[in-house]
Amino acid sequence: VFCSILHAKRSLHASQQCSAPLPPLPEKPGQVRYGLIPEEFFQFLYPKTGVTGPYMLGTGLLLYLLSKEIYVINHETVAGACILTILIYGVKKYGSAVAAFADKLNEEKVASALAVKNDAIKSLETAIEEEKKEQWRVEGRSYLFDAKRNNIAMLLEANYRERLLTVYNEVKKRLDYQVAVQHLKRQKEQDHMIQWVEKNVVQSITPQQQKESIAKCILDLKALSKSAHVTA
């Protein structure tokens, strides 16, 4: 059962047996006139019979065959004429389209291979551009480092000044405290002294002195009230 498919796996004469490079395909096919007769036939007869030679030959041959009934006109002739009409119509109408389609198939094959090559080239060029950019970036590295250095220096300076400010504020707070303590002490001393002086003065006021001062005040008040009455 299995040996029946073995022979199909080996293809016969799939390639030529030599590996020499192939000649390129010709650009145009062989020139034919009326789709059947190659141009070489007309060129072959041209020296002896001129331009009309092959046509005379063809017409004479056809008439000979028909008149001698070597070719008999029967129903196959009519059928053949119809088929010929359809074939020629088909070739004339769709021939160029089919040829363009075949060319397109080949073009797509070549184009896909070219696309692979172009994509590879493009990706390599992009890689080169990227590499150049990286090299340019390397040149600018020193600026980058300077900027970073300046940045760090500024940060350090700012930090230092902040700490300096903190120190100043702390010291000021402590000094203010001392100053406040001294003021408070002075205030307390003054108050105490005033109180003591007042207490002593009040203690030293004798009752005689008190009466004399009250009488003087009353006299002063009367005098004042009189002057107030006069002015009003």
Binding site: I5, A8, H13, A14, S15, Q16, L22, L25, V72, I73, N74, H75, E76, T77, V78, A79, G80, C82, I83, T85, I86, V98, A99, F101, A102, D103, L105, N106, K109, V110
Partner: protein
């Protein structure tokens, strides 16, 4: 020479030497063999594209084991296509009009599918005889009908191809005979029959291609059931 209507269906002979083998192998001469160029000429490109299209169309619905049949089915398709199309030319012999050749193509291929099915998966291939969801009283009748349908398949395949092509060729001959006979009597009716003949020839082109495709498609379907 004066042809009867039987002459285009008789096996060709030259001085008593049967030419049937040459007439069957001749279409292969028309196909360019693949050469080892990468970009080939237009004919080779088109042939390659057509073969790829046909093979893909046939082989896509099939599972992996069915792909062993790709070579025989696509070569059968090309064979039948070319023979049918070449038979439309005048004074040609079409081998596929002979029932003997079509039966000898259809019967072994159908039998091969049946035997493969019965050997590898007998219950599945026998199960195709009864469609799903049939009501129970119908089952005996349906099994008999489906068995007859199964056994008649090779006959149908061969006769379909033979009948289509023979009928087409015969019609062409008859109508062209009518055209010729009417040409001297009533030329106007002759023109009418000529137009009928042209339409018929277009139909015959289509039928030639379709019949080849249908033959191979049906065999691939029978294969899909059984593989």
């Amino acid at each position: 020479m004066n042809l009867t209507f039987f002459d285009q269906f008789s096996s060709p002979q030259l001085l008593g030497i049967p030419l049937i083998l040459i007439s069957m192998l001749f279409p292969t001469l028309l196909l360019p063999s693949p050469n080892n160029r990468w970009i080939t000429n237009r004919l080779s490109t088109l042939q390659l594209w057509l073969m790829q299209l046909l093979t893909k169309q046939l082989m896509t619905p099939m599972n992996k084991t069915g792909h062993k049949w790709a070579l025989i089915l696509s070569s059968l398709m090309t064979f039948l296509l070319l023979i049918n199309l070449l038979g439309l030319l005048p004074y040609t012999f079409t081998p596929t009009t002979q029932l003997s050749m079509n039966m000898s193509l259809a019967f072994p291929l159908w039998l091969a599918t049946i035997l493969i099915g019965l050997r590898n998966q007998p219950s599945i291939s026998l199960g195709h005889i009864l469609p799903e969801g049939t009501p129970t009283p119908l089952i005996p009748a349906l099994i008999m009908i489906e068995t007859i349908s199964l056994l008649i398949r090779p006959l149908a395949l061969g006769v379909r191809l033979t009948a289509n092509l023979t009928a087409g060729h015969l019609l062409i001959q008859l109508i062209s005979t009518a055209t010729m006979a009417l040409l001297s009597i009533l030329p106007a009716v002759s023109i009418l029959t000529t137009s009928i003949l042209i339409l018929l020839t277009i139909l015959e082109f289509a039928v030639a291609m379709i019949q080849a495709y249908v033959f191979v498609l049906l065999i691939s379907l029978y294969l899909q059931e059984n593989i």
